[in-house]
Amino acid sequence: MSHDALLNVSQVVKRFGGFTALNGVSLSLNRGEILGLVGPNGSGKTTCINVISGLYAPDGGDVSFHGRSLVHVPMFRRALLGINRTFQIPKPFKALTVRENVEVAGAYVGQRKRVVDDPVDFVGLAAFADASASSLTSGQQKMLDLARALSTGPELLLVDELAAGLNPQELDAVAKKLTFLASQGVAMIVVEHLLGFVNQLTQHVIVMNEGREIFEGALSAAAKDPQVTAVYLGQSEVSVRDGRQ
């Protein structure tokens, strides 16, 4: 675990009542690096993002950003520090327009440097800028989540199942956008079920199961790892090509 990493997550534990959703998760991430976080339903991927973004306080372990512990840093301050996210179930401000959604985020982050000038345009929602967020499809709302996150100028972006429900061309376009962000120095954790999509972004993946990491390494190696294939319910091999289970 390097000390100059942008993000260090070490031995994080998160319990809900008697249930342990994260059981000693550790990872670290450098500037501009993309980490794929994969695993079956309920394995703890979203919980991991919730702990890093500050929505949940961990019951054990530590999360640090630029070498400083975030344990007592509230969610809004993490956003100001340059950590942002999208939501698996998108959470736009439904009563506001697309542009207003992004303006709210832009209004509070002060002088943070943005990697994209016009987040609404970047995510492909320019034609809907004055439409109410509630009129967007769920896929578009996820893009709005992304635009809103980008308007805060994040250094660390946590992306939770952005690709679900997109068609192959849209998937390609989104992958290109995320790759561009990484090339500009944005570090990303990408939670995704579609392994083909992850494959377009990065070779570095962590596979989770029941709150633990069962594999860390190259996606191509993960597909041949017996523990990984075992958790993907009887599938003898995880198909990297289309990734659909």
Partner: protein
């Protein structure tokens, strides 16, 4: 933005002219005075409800705190009346600060919690053991500072100030952050909004409006009792006026108060039996057909309501 400034200026000047002329045209000064008091309270509720969705049934607790604040500062501490009025407003702010954990509740739980809290304040103030400070249930007499005309204009100033505060909040990034919190506190936090602090700030501002209105009310009437300044009818009226006109707008609480309080004074006093009926019907019709208030009629036509 410029359009907003113009319409806001018109509203403020219009209110000032209306309430400067009213006592000259209307035989009974206390009617326009009460209307101003309700309008100021409605704007205070508007600050909280219109921008955060919290509906404080116990709002009158701040009004009563302001009235008793001014009486203690004048009678016990011998402050002169204007600083005492401001002090009365600050007493309400202090009460609100103590009650700020209520903001952890949501929806009906918050409304009922605030109602219970105002009842507690009422019982403390009216407790006979408090006679040395508040005169308990026996009421206070501020005859020494009685000044109906000055206090009338003081209420006008408070009304104008809090109408201007609503204008500011409505057009500021602060107001936008409150609307964002109302929509989705988690998303608001990810936008860098300090959710807890901003909620508390608007809660205190709202309490300050009621506290100042209560303080000036106490000064104006000069003789009052706990049961009159902690009367739940005051909360109910102010809430209904706000909702009737439409929360989240500058104009809504003004229009709501003029229409409903006007109606109350024309029919309500002469033939209360019809008044109850008409009032009830109006409110039912509103809830069913115009849940966003009277001003939403204009919004639906695409007219921007200040």
């Amino acid at each position: 933005m410029r359009k907003n400034k113009l319409s806001n200026a018109i509203i403020l000047v219009g209110l000032a002219i209306l309430f400067i002329l009213a006592p000259l045209l209307y035989p009974n000064q206390s009617v326009p005075f009460q209307m101003m008091a309700y309008m100021a309270l409605a704007q205070g509720i508007n600050l909280l409800y219109g921008f955060t969705g919290y509906l404080p049934f116990g709002y009158v607790g701040f009004f009563g705190s302001g009235a008793y604040g001014v009486s203690v500062l004048v009678l016990l501490l011998h402050w002169s009346v204007i600083p005492a009025v401001i002090g009365g407003g600050l007493v309400a702010v202090a009460v609100a600060l103590l009650l700020s954990p209520l903001l952890r509740l949501s929806g009906a739980y918050f409304s009922i919690g605030s109602l219970a809290a105002s009842e507690i304040v009422y019982y403390i103030v009216s407790n006979p053991n408090m006679q040395n400070i508040t005169q308990g249930p026996y009421g206070v007499n501020l005859a020494g500072v009685y000044a109906p005309n000055t206090s009338y204009y003081a209420m006008l100033v408070i009304l104008l100030i809090f109408t201007a505060v609503v204008m500011y909040v409505k057009n500021s990034t602060f107001g936008m952050s409150l609307l964002a919190i109302k929509e989705d506190p988690v998303s608001a936090a990810m936008c860098g909004v300090n959710v807890v602090r901003n909620r508390v700030v608007i809660w205190l501002a709202s309490a300050f409006a009621a506290g100042l209105a209560g303080a000036v009310y106490g000064w104006y009437v000069s003789v009052f009792y706990p049961s009159s300044v902690f009367d739940l009818t005051i909360s109910i009226f102010a809430i209904v006026f706000t909702l009737f006109g439409g929360g989240g707008t500058v104009l809504g609480p003004i229009v709501g108060t003029i229409v409903l309080y006007g109606l109350y004074n024309t029919i309500g006093v002469s033939s209360p039996q019809y008044f109850q009926l008409i009032y009830g019907l109006l409110i039912v019709v509103l809830v069913m057909f115009l849940p966003q208030g009277l001003t939403s009629l204009l919004k639906r036509r695409g007219i921007n309501v200040p």
